[in-house]
Amino acid sequence: MVHWSAEEKQLISSVWAKVSVEECGAEALARLLIVYPWTQRFFSDFGNLSSPTAIIGNPKVRAHGKKVLTSFGEAIKNLDNLKGTYSQLSELHCDKLHVDPENFRLLGDILVIVLATHFTKDFTPACQATWQKLVGLVAHALARKYH
């Protein structure tokens, strides 16, 4: 059972309140595809991913990024039940999408960096630690149903 301190919950909600899910999601996914280009393997039907500019401008990338981060929002509403929240998505990513869970960790790290660029000095070490904990737990929950 994961334990969240009051401080951690506050650091999560205060950051999340100021996040544009659409913008942040698009940026995080684009950066994932740019920084770790092998992750493009899952998106062969997304059209033009031939350059950073193409990736950033790609409407499918933006839409999918928004989808992914919207789902993240669900995790934040259910911090005490990440396993339950992600149970079906975990099965989907294993059985249908065949995504190596390592990719969830990569995206989590990228999301932290995107948040860091937006929040700058407000993204204190304690804030980073909380968010790294959260993205790690989300990645873990998403990998839980793999077989």
Partner: protein, 142 residues
């Protein structure tokens, strides 16, 4: 993994912008690493790891200095970091996984202090560079 000409240009630009603040960036990255990844503290039982620690500041300066040296010899990282590579293999023996953790924290430090600098392309180049440094430092482990 090979650093392209563009990667090298990007990395040099980052460190040129950071300039004399590299020491602070090093200390900040370490503080973030110790706060975020508790197991990394096991390598520093002899340090005061509290906020504002002089030892962490000094060590951050050392780490930053090594990164700057690496950037200045970016065409020959193995050569530039050879002695540090020996040190990590024979004496320090920091588990390889930890270099990625420090790398992540260094990126966050740059992101918080210089967000405009960390475009996706520069982010990619800097991440590659930090990975390459970690690879060199662990190359002689076995």
């Amino acid at each position: 993994m090979v650093l392209s000409a563009a990667d090298k240009t990007n990395v040099k630009a980052v460190f040129a912008k950071i300039g004399g603040q590299a020491d602070e960036y090093g200390a900040d990255a370490l503080e973030r690493m110790f706060t975020t990844y508790a197991p990394t503290k096991t390598y520093f039982p002899h340090f005061d790891l509290g906020k504002g620690s002089a030892q962490v500041k000094a060590h951050g300066k050392k780490v930053a200095g090594a990164l700057v040296e690496a950037v200045n010899h970016i065409d020959d990282l193995a050569g530039a970091l050879s002695k540090l590579s020996d040190l990590h293999a024979q004496k320090l023996r920091v588990d390889p996984v930890n270099f990625k953790l420090l790398g992540q924290c260094f990126l966050v430090t740059v992101a918080t202090r210089n967000p405009g600098l960390l475009t996706p392309e520069v982010h990619a180049s800097l991440d590659k560079f930090l990975c390459a440094v970690g690879t060199v430092l662990t190359a002689k482990y076995r």
